[in-house]
């Protein structure tokens, strides 16, 4: 039990450190969001100093307060889920914007990453088990997909499958004309249909790493003494492959999977740009383009939490599947 508490404690400290950096970094950067908004408003009419002050209050950049108090306010606000107001989507709050876009990204990137990992590990396991089979010839093909720049692969597939063959839609998260977002079957079906092509490109471009890594680990695991023991024990081929070989070979890949899961949120920027997908990557892009500090901070916070969360998850999972990492209290 102390093991889990210690782990949890570590993650709380890491989160605090990330939040602190998240607070100070934008304040060290040049440019002021209030000036930017005032410039926008000034295009429409005169701006009084009162408006300026109220904007400062609204955006939480009240420069008259000492920075330490601002920091305390910030931590307090984050704890209450109040991340300020977005300039880009004014007057929507950052929390609402994130809540609208995050599920899209997590669903698309999360599912695609898991599928890629699962297929890659399975193929790698079989390729390592039966060395020299046709599966070995598949590896260079998948490596090629990983080697070409991702945006190029995505654009080519988009052109071929959406523009030429017209099997998939050219962009978006769902059919905005016919279905209503919510928990209903037509919407879900539409979302899956729109998400298939982006997911396919992600799987194609990332599967080689999993497959190659797993195959090579499998090959070196197969020369371990416990594999010969398992064979001499007269266990079935299937059992030797899964419980004895793959179970040990998958451990390094699983650590890699944790890191990848953490970057699900931040890694979606290009995908979402190419497919005009309404996720958090698009949001981050427009936040950067509009110097929307509050929104950027919000996105960075989400990225930080997702990296930490994914690592915590795999830490716990690792303890289950590799007994050697479990410290006995």
């Amino acid at each position: 039990m102390t093991y889990y508490l210690r782990k949890l404690g570590f993650y709380v400290v890491a989160l605090w450190a990330a939040l602190t950096l998240n607070f100070f970094l934008p304040r060290w950067m040049p440019g002021d969001p209030v000036d930017l908004m005032i410039a926008k408003l000034a295009a429409k009419g005169p701006v009084s100093p009162e408006i300026r002050h109220s904007l400062e209050l609204l955006l939480g950049t009240d420069s008259s307060r000492p920075i330490f108090l601002q920091y305390v306010d910030y931590l307090n606000n984050v704890a209450h889920g109040d991340l300020g107001v977005s300039v880009t989507y004014f007057p929507q709050t950052v929390s609402t914007t994130l809540a609208d876009t995050l599920p899209w990204t997590i669903a698309l990137m999360g599912i695609a990453t898991i599928i890629s990992f699962a297929i890659g590990i399975l193929l790698g396991q079989l390729a390592g088990w039966k060395r020299g089979s046709w599966l070995d010839n598949l590896i260079p093909v998948t490596t090629m997909f990983q080697a070409v720049p991702y945006f190029w692969l995505a654009l080519v597939l988009l052109y071929l499958l959406s523009s030429v063959a017209q099997i998939f839609p050219t962009g978006g998260g769902y059919d905005v004309n016919t279905v209503v977002p919510g928990f209903n079957l037509p919407f879900l079906r539409s979302a899956v249909y729109y998400g298939t092509l982006p997911a396919l490109t992600i799987v194609l471009s990332s599967i080689a790493g999993w497959m190659l890594g797993m195959r090579n680990m499998m090959v070196s695991t197969l020369s371990e003494d416990y594999i010969v023991t398992a064979e001499a024990k007269g266990l079935t081929r299937r059992r030797i492959m899964t419980t004895y070989a793959a179970r040990n070979a998958v451990l390094p890949s699983l650590a890699g999977f944790a890191i990848t899961l953490g970057f699900v949120v931040s890694g979606s920027i290009i995908t979402e740009q190419v497919f005009s997908y309404p996720g958090i990557g698009m949001t981050l892009m427009s936040a950067v383009q509009n110097s929307d500090y509050a929104l950027m901070q919000g996105v960075f916070l989400v990225i930080t939490i997702s990296v930490l969360g994914a690592n915590l998850l795999v830490d716990l999972l690792y303890a289950v599947i590799d007994p050697r990492t479990r410290a006995r209290a």
């Binding site: 003494d225 416990y226 023991t229 064979e231 007269g234 266990l235 590799d322």
Partner: protein, 271 residues
């Protein structure tokens, strides 16, 4: 004493640019309940012979001649070379079990001792109930002097000696007729080594299995084996009862082997 294993004209080659004749025309019989020691220097083909008998060799190793026949308790003769696929799988461990050289690494690090012991029963004795399996695994561990509570441990939580005992417990699980022990005590210190050897001879007396004991440690064999076979460069150069081999070695190589171990009594070697 009737025989349990007859090996005739057994040869194994390792194919390659230069083919290596690892085992050459070996003839060997193993009596029921006998401890037969197989001695020889490193690389002389001892392990290859053992793996060959149990059909565990992998390419580029090829069995080029000869056969190994097991005379089972039930009175049937089984030619190991004729077994393939499922038959061979079912035969292994049930009739011939093995304790390996690298006992430190012979256990799967990520599953518990219990899972690895139970594996044997769930594969070879599918009819056995879960409760029976549990009790049996506990009994096996206790028989080799390891506490029953250790079932839930993982290999990394056991000492080298304990892991080797677990391996021996595992090898006894199905009450095989032959146990092939490939340098089972090499990685252990002499005290633990001694304990384990006593354990093996005691269990042999209790259960009556035959042991093919492979080691480069001739004095150790002199102590525990009934007969000793000496191997050199893939050939069996001498096979004799332990006492006879010690007192009147026939082959020059046997004399050399015996002479290369320091004696505790008598004169100091020159040099």
């Amino acid at each position: 004493m009737s025989d349990v294993l007859t090996v005739t004209d057994f040869s194994v080659d390792y194919l390659g640019e230069q083919t290596v004749h690892a085992v050459r025309n070996v003839d060997l019989t193993l009596g029921r309940g006998e401890i037969l020691g197989l001695a020889g220097e490193s690389g002389c083909g001892k392990t290859t012979l053992a793996y060959g008998i149990n059909r565990l060799l992998k390419p580029p190793a090829v069995i080029t001649s000869g056969k190994a026949v097991l005379h089972s308790r039930e009175g049937t003769d089984i030619d190991l070379g004729s077994l393939t696929g499922e038959e061979l799988r079912a035969f292994r461990w049930d009739r011939v079990s093995m304790v390996f050289q690298g006992a430190m690494n012979s256990l799967n690090p990520v599953i518990s001792i219990r899972a690895q012991l139970e594996d044997i029963f769930s594969t070879h004795r599918p009819a056995m109930s879960k409760a029976d399996r549990r009790t049996r695994c506990g009994e096996l561990l206790e028989r080799v002097g390891v506490d029953r509570n250790r079932l839930k441990s993982y290999p990394h939580e056991l000492s080298g000696g304990m892991r080797q005992r677990v391996m021996i417990a595992m090898a006894m699980a199905l009450e095989p007729q032959i146990m092939i022990m490939d340098e089972p005590t090499t990685a252990l210190d002499v005290v633990v080594q001694r304990e384990i050897l006593l354990e093996i001879t005691r269990l042999r007396d209790e259960l009556g299995f035959a042991v093919l004991f492979i080691t480069h440690d001739l004095p150790l064999l002199l102590e525990i084996s009934d007969r000793i076979a000496v191997m050199r460069a893939g050939e069996l150069v001498e096979l004799a009862p332990a006492a006879q081999l010690y007192n009147s070695p026939q082959h020059a190589y046997t004399k050399l082997l015996l002479g290369s171990f320091p004696s505790l009594t008598g004169e100091r070697a020159a040099g």
